[in-house]
């Protein structure tokens, strides 16, 4: 018996049929509002009100929650197109339709996610204008030109997204597919600039460059190109890929756990693998980007650097180590389970290497999580001679942290390589030599990374930062690139000895994927707070002081509670987006095989322009 959808569902579907219109509406509001800000400056009118509070929750907390949700959603809508486009390219190049289907499945999410992000951006803007009018007037005065560019980019992005999504089926073959791929590229191109423009506003607040002379454009440009702008741009770009990958993994994990048929299990198992792979792919260079950002912060302002890494915010980095640790463990665990379950008979072969990698990972994590000054009772501190342990205290500084993070990247990469090679037998004659070279390279790289880390304690900090740490990164990157090229060359003609079997992963694999996504979200809330609170009592560091009642840094426990709340809210929003976006599929499934024609009367419309044609082809 067919059930008619409820009123709310119908309403959501109607709105979701043209979701990007909401985004465009918000963007248009922004375009209209921005000149108003500029005109207000021309009239010489300045509000006598510097701050307005929001009863109950407080203006700062409200801004904190909304800004964080907006940023997380922005990361999602910027990460997913990269993920989807990469999948589409792979599908186009290899001819494997399932990649195209995966790309489409995630692009379908974009439309509703995009409008939700824009809505949160609009809410944030209104709250900021209302609660912090003086700060917003100051920022508008500097960044007015970039506001205009931002709005224009928003319109371009919206139009491109419309064409990309609605044109998926119409441009699925031949030359039109190439044009569709080009649209996907442009979508990401505009998205990149949509990301870096607001980044300039946020990074300006932390590392302002203010010039007194010059045109409005010159002032805006100088403020935009501030010392931490590009480090944040690169860090966020990579982090968005990681977020997109792991959220795809979590979605696949949940669908896998609730799958009812073998086909569903196979599909979502494979999707989980792709999500985890792309998440790990982004995770590997992320520590390097983070290191570069911190280096720039230190160089820009010693006070800010110490507040973050040595002062009261330094405990956040211990939490960060724990979260990243769980993420590395979770990702590797998923790879290792994949070997055990998807490649029959390979468990015994890889048990020892897996154990070795696990032990190395745990040792590295132990070092990474060890704080410089330890949490100790009075009695314990007296026995240690302070809160700094005489022996293990050496693990608390950057030389040790950089060394173990490089080693963890190496180990995770080796996990992936092992998974890649499992069930395949090389046929080329030089494979044995290549493997011997790779093994030797790996050992040399490991020794070199550790040696540089140890030697780093005995050289001036600048030598360690400029030469040793960069050399460690260079060595690891060299291994990553060399091994990838050699392995792909070996496997090109390799014989498959054991076919990979999808859909056999145990339920805990699905939970591991969900855990990874939650860890990434928590990490983003944590480091977002760290970056923002490093300004301490300044709206614009050293330029505009925060004189509101909230000009204090909250206790770490309080901050952690808000981060956890933000993570929960974001997960709920993402779940809602997935629910909305897949409502059409569920409707189709409910009708079973009866729904053969899209034109059938009474058939539920496919959600947000979804393609029944393509789905039938696959």
């Amino acid at each position: 018996m067919m059930e008619r959808p409820g009123m709310i569902q119908r309403l959501i579907r109607r709105v979701a049929e043209a979701p990007a219109a909401v985004a465009a509406f918000v963007a248009t509001l922004g375009v209209l509002a921005a000149p108003a800000l500029g005109l207000a400056a021309d009239t010489g009118f300045t509000s006598s009100v510097a701050y307005r509070d929001v009863p109950g929750i407080g203006s700062r907390n409200l801004v904190w929650v909304i800004a964080q949700l907006h940023l997380l959603l922005a990361g999602f809508v910027l990460g997913v197109p990269i993920f989807a486009w990469l999948c589409e390219v792979v599908g186009w190049k290899t001819g494997e339709k399932r990649y195209d289907k995966l790309a489409k499945e995630f692009t379908k999410l974009l439309s509703s996610a995009y409008s939700t992000t824009a809505l949160f951006g609009g809410i944030l803007l209104f709250i900021l204008i209302g609660a912090y009018p003086k700060l917003m007037a100051y920022l508008s005065d500097i960044f007015f030109p970039s506001f205009m560019v931002y709005c224009a980019l928003f319109l371009l992005e919206t139009a491109t997204l419309y064409m990309y999504w609605y044109g998926w089926d119409a441009m699925s073959e031949g030359g039109s597919k190439v044009f569709h791929l080009f649209l996907g590229f442009m979508l990401n191109f505009f998205a990149f600039f949509i990301m870096i423009i607001p980044n300039s506003w946020a990074t300006f607040q932390a590392s302002p460059v203010v010039i007194a002379e010059g045109s409005d454009l010159a002032r805006a440009w100088a403020a935009t190109w501030n010392p931490t702008w590009w480090p944040v741009n690169i860090h966020r770009l990579i982090a968005n890929v990681v977020l997109g990958g792991y959220i795809c993994g979590a979605y696949a994990g949940i669908r896998y756990l609730s799958a009812k048929t073998t086909e569903e299990r196979e599909h979502y198992d494979w999707m989980g693998y792709v999500g985890n792979f792309i998440g790990v792919f982004g995770l590997l260079p992320l520590p390097f980007a983070g290191y570069w950002l911190m280096r720039e912060i230190y160089q820009y302002n010693q006070q800010m650097g110490i507040t973050l890494m040595g002062g009261f915010l330094s405990w956040l980095f211990i939490l960060q180590a724990m979260l990243i640790g769980v993420l590395f463990l979770g990702s590797n665990y998923y790879f290792w389970m994949g070997i055990s379950h998807r490649i029959p008979g390979s468990e015994a072969q890889y048990k020892k290497p897996i154990l070795t990698m696990l032990v190395i990972l745990l040792l590295c994590l132990g070092v990474w999580m060890t704080p410089h000054s330890l949490v100790a009772s009075l009695e314990e501190a007296q026995k240690m001679g302070g809160t700094h342990h005489p022996l293990l205290g050496v693990f608390g500084v950057m030389s040790a942290k950089m060394t173990v993070s490089n080693l963890m990247v190496l180990v995770t990469f080796m996990s992936f390589l092992m998974y890649w090679q499992a069930g395949k037998q090389a046929t080329v004659g030089w494979a044995r030599v290549a493997k011997a070279v790779m093994n030797a390279l790996l050992v040399i790289a490991g020794i070199a990374v550790i040696s540089l880390g140890v030697y780093g304690y005995f050289v001036p900090a600048i030598i360690r930062i400029n030469y040793f740490s960069t050399s460690q990164v260079g060595i690891v990157l060299f291994v990553l690139v060399t091994f990838t090229l050699l392995t792909s060359a070996i496997l090109k003609s390799a014989k498959t000895t054991t076919e990979m079997v999808w859909g056999r992963m145990p339920p805990r694999a699905g939970y591991a994927l969900v855990l990874n996504a939650v860890m990434v979200i928590l990490l983003m809330t944590l480091m977002g707070y760290a970056r923002s609170s490093s300004r301490v009592h300044w709206h614009v560091y050293g330029v505009m002081r925060d004189s509101s009642q909230y000009a204090f840094s909250p206790a770490l426990g309080y901050a952690a509670a808000l981060m956890a709340a933000n993570t929960f809210f974001f997960c709920m929003i993402v779940a809602f987006i997935f629910w909305v976006a897949t409502m059409g599929d569920k409707g189709k499934n409910a009708h079973g095989g009866k729904e053969k024609s899209a034109d059938s009367h009474g058939a539920l419309p496919v959600m947000a322009g979804g393609s029944q044609t393509l789905d039938k082809q696959i």
Binding site: W336, T370, S377, L378
Partner: protein, 238 residues
Amino acid sequence: MGALTKPVILLVTVYLFLKFVVPNIPGSAPLPASLIFLYLMLVTAGIVIFFTMSSESKEAFWGPIQRFLTGENLGALSSARYAVLIVFPLLVGWQTFGSTAVSDAPPAENRTIHPAPPGEYTGLSNPVSKTPENIMQGKGFYAAFCSPCHGGNFDGKGPAARGFNPPPANFADPTTIAMLQESYLFWRIKKGGVGLPIEGMPWKSAMPRWEVELPDEWIWKIIMGEYDGAHQSPRTWE
């Protein structure tokens, strides 16, 4: 040896190593409970990961626990099961009571060693030229004013050091002054313990406020003497 026995032995061994072996390594000290807990959690995570990798290992590891807890074919062990089901909640209750009961012991500290310096002290460069004479003079000032606590060997082991908790900083340790710029040391020497900011309280430092006794030039020379004597270099960006 059963799949369950190995992890238990491993956990106990790691605990004993951290609790009794590490403190007895020359130059070491007992580890705080927080760090031991952290390391044991890591080991536990590793055990769970390794033993749940495949269906067989998971069954070998988790199966006995599950059967014991559900009372499936336990035989003579059923009384042990009841003992565990009674003792475990009691242990949790005892732990909860212990961590929430009123105590006269001060709370555990998460002291921040390096607070951020005030803006006016960031980015200052040493105005005293780095000549052998100035370094030597700085070492002389250091011997007179600093070495009673920080030690003649710059290792934090001066004759008065034992009277302080936390102890004076060990400058020869590459994780102390080598991580800092000269301007940071200038601030700390000049303002002393009383000049520390309120962020990350509690501050416990007996460092005198040397600005009332020493001119700035002497402080800069002391800094040069400290770095040279401890065989360290200040953090720079050039």
